[in-house]
Structures are given as structure tokens and as C-alpha cells.
Symmetry: C2
Subunit: 304 residues, 2 copies
Amino acid sequence: LKTFSLTILGSGAALPTAKRNPSGQFLNCNNRHILIDCGEGTQNQIRKHKLPLQRISHILISHLHGDHFFGLVGLLSTMHLLGRDKGIHIYGPPDLEQIIRMQLEIGGSRLPFSLNFYPLQKIKNQLIFEDKVIEIHSFTMKHRVDSWGFRIQEKEKERTLNAELFYGEKRSMEHIPALKKGLDVELEDGSKLLSADYTFPASKPKSYAYCSDTMYFEQILQSVLEVDYLYHEATFLHKELDRALATMHTTALQAGEIASKAKVKNLLIGHLSARYETGKELLAEAKSVFDNTFIVEDGDVFEF
Amino acid sequence: LKTFSLTILGSGAALPTAKRNPSGQFLNCNNRHILIDCGEGTQNQIRKHKLPLQRISHILISHLHGDHFFGLVGLLSTMHLLGRDKGIHIYGPPDLEQIIRMQLEIGGSRLPFSLNFYPLQKIKNQLIFEDKVIEIHSFTMKHRVDSWGFRIQEKEKERTLNAELFYGEKRSMEHIPALKKGLDVELEDGSKLLSADYTFPASKPKSYAYCSDTMYFEQILQSVLEVDYLYHEATFLHKELDRALATMHTTALQAGEIASKAKVKNLLIGHLSARYETGKELLAEAKSVFDNTFIVEDGDVFEF
């Protein structure tokens, strides 16, 4: 069962190109709709790819460079014009709230839905949201301005009932919750129902992590450990390492190294500098250290 | 000789649609490159229509509703990334400067070119820029927030020399400036060179006016009098007059009336509400009172 669907809205870096919009990703995780970063034109991309704009409940903004948030105020305005009344939760750098509220106020907009801002904190790894099914963690990265990565993961799941066996033996439903939790049940006659007999192992919780923008920074390894998909920026080729260091970005080779060291299952690279017409060389470079690498294009969808 | 070239970058209202971006116009007037309004995605439209982004020297922002300025900070960032060093002149509502500078500062951007902001004043009609060839005027309109219209016009031109006659008679070049100004010249022998004989009448200065957003407001008539092209918002059909009044917008019928009363040559209508799939009815309505009306689409070019 695929419970994550990730759509790439923008795969470019600060300078937009005809093919690559600035950063934005739309993540559907167990029907929680999460927008990660929101560069200029993100609302157009959401519309173009026919994604449910009004169902977005959480917005995560990594840092305050324009290509990651200049589209946010326009998106919120459009939500308003489309009649939204459900509140929205925005996690971002502390100054974000002021910028957004100021622009809305100056235009005389009183949003009829609540804008809930949660300033990200400079903490190595922090749980910023959870409900019954998912968790979102933020973690600090290293860039020219404060920048955060995000990990969205499912919670530990319950084991699933072997319904055929269980109901075939006409067992009482009252025992199901315990069995699903992995607990054995002692019956009145002294016999035992073993969880291992009546349930199948829980499927492994899936996870996704987003890292953009940051320089190569091993402190994030623990935060992205073993995720199913890691999106990591790969702005430059390694032969441009000087430029990557000066601008505090990552090379494709380094992104592959992070993926390898964090033992992730798949690596997605993006945030490609406009200087590269295709991502071919970047992909080859990352694959040289981590084979399960994919380069993302605007509109790509990953389901897992 | 066509000295004005106007490209429509966005013809929609606040809610963008697949076909209509928010407001933006690129005006080339005698090789002065002027951007009028800058909704989200305007930089993409400039690129898409292959217009010279870095040659924009003046930006005019009508008012602080997002669909007219949310694209400005991104445009300035892109100019920076593309290596601009030439300063830029921005005319807009007083609060605009603070919003733009704040966003750039928070992102750590130090633009290597000067941003010169000129706050618009609440004056009925004001000359805000002039050089040898053109003038730009602002004028107050009436909307939910302070809103200004703009008139861009050529200065009075000189008469043009009848070179064939003048040089055929081997006249001295020193007389040309006076003749071009319409002055007759008395020669040493007492005879006269009549300007009317040796020059052709000056071509009439051309002019363009932009009015969006505003409700029907006759005080602007003097400011847009007899322009060659008037762009006027026409957000609604007249049967939605209540809605137009409540939101302080203009109906297509009213836009036609303004054009008629101001004796303009041509009327362009735009800023169409997203509720109208085509502009057909809006066009018909405006034409019922002013025949020379055109409805604009994104990408349209008008040369005059």
C-alpha cells in the first residue's frame, strides 16, 4: 500500500528557468496534505498538476531565501479568494510570520481562516507536529541563513489481523486491539491466543526527508537515517566545490555521500543551478557514490 | 513610426487562472522600458515572451493588493542573480519600499544595484518622471486601498526638416533648430525662411494610460484625456454592478463610458474576474458604449 505521494512543484535553484520553477513540493502522507517550501509560482504549479490546494493543512518553509517562500503570500491570498475557512499551520523561520502578516495587512486582507505560525527553533532535531498517524520533525542544517530540514514519517503501525483465521475460529472481537499491539491474550480456559499466530507483522513506517538548502553537513545524518526517500539539494557538480562552499550549497557527489552514510533507500536530488541545461552529469556524479539516486523534474511524482 | 510597444503579461484579476496571470504590463516607449504592476509570476511572463528583463529601468506599482505586486521582490532578486548593476526606479505606494527591503534583508540579499523608491502622493495628477523624450504622470483613483493610475506620454516633438528642399537650396544648417521649433528665420538679405515651408508638422505625441484597480471614477477623465490607448480594468459585467461597487471595481460598461467621455482613441479592457471563462460578454458590453475596445489576453502586443 502506497501511503506517500510526493509531487515536485519546483526543482530549480534561485534563478528560475523555463523548465525548473523555484522550490516547492506537495506531499500527501496518509491523506495529510503538506506543502514543503513555496517559491514564486508554486500556486500555479499546484493548479497545473491538479493537486487539492485547499486540502493543504501544513506548510513547511525551510529558510527565508526568496526561491523558497516568495510564493507563500500569494498562495494564502488565493486560498482566501477560493473561500477557505479552515485554519492552516505554517512552520518556518521566526521572521516569516511578520513578513506574511505585513503584506496581507497592507493590502487590507483579513483572512477568514486562522494562520497559525510555529517558529522553527535552532534545535538539532525536534518533533514539531504529530497526530495519530504521522509525525513531522525539523532539524537544523547549515546555510547562509538559518535553514531547516524536515522529516515526515508514519508512526509505528499496529500488526494487521489474520481475519480469516481469527473469524474462522469465531474468536471474540474484544481481543483484537491487544493482538494488534503484539500482546498475547490469555482466555478464561487458560489457553492463549498468540499475537504472532493471529496477526501479520506491521508494515514498516515509511518516511521522507527534505534537505534544501544546506551545505554538506553530517550532523543531519541522524535526522534522515534510513528514510525511504531523501530529497537533498545538489546545486553544483563537485568540480564546482569552491562555489558550493562559498554559497553554502551541496555538490551532487556530497548529496550521494549523505544518502550513503544515512543508509537511506532512495535519494532524490534537485535545486539544480540554472547553469546546468540537463541534470545528466549531476545524476551520474551522485550515482557514483549512491546508486539509488533519481534526479527530479517539475511535475515528477514519487509514490511509496 | 511606432514608438510604443505594450505587452500584456497578466490580464486576470486577483484569482489567477490557467489562462490569465495577475497584473503586469511591459511597455517599451521610445526605448524606455517600463514595467507596470508586477503580480506573482511576472518574471516568468517576461522570460516567456522574451522581453529584455534587464533593460527595465522604471517600475510603476498601482496599489498594494497582491495581484499587483507580489512578483516584484522575486523580479528584483532575479535581476540581481543575472548580474545587474544598473539602478532601478520604482514608483509605488509609500509602504512598498518597506515590504520589499524587509524581504530582501531577511534573506541576506544585498543588491549590487540601487533600488530607488519614489512614494506616490495623493495628488490628483502629478508628473513623476521626465526625460528628453517621455513623461510619466501618476493620478489618484478610487479603490479599497490607495490606488494610482499612470499616463506615459511622449513630449511635444519638433517639426521635421524637409531635407530635400532645404539642402537642395543649399541653406545653412545653423537655421535648422529654429525652423524645427516652428520659428521663421530672417536672412541677412532681409528675405525669410518660413518654418512652414521648410519643415513638416511634428507628429503628434503619443500617450498611454493604465487604470487598474479602481471603481468608476470620473475624476480621472482629465488625466487620461485623448490618450491613444487607455487600459482600464473591467472586472465585472454591469449586471454585477452591486459586486463592482462593493469591491470598488469597474464594470465593462463603465470602462466604455470612461473611454468615451475621455475621448480616447482605443480602449483595452482587462483585470477580468476569474468567473468569466471568456471575455466575450465583457467586450460586447464595453463596445456598446465605446466601439474601439479590445479585450486583452496574456501575451498580447499593442504597437502604436
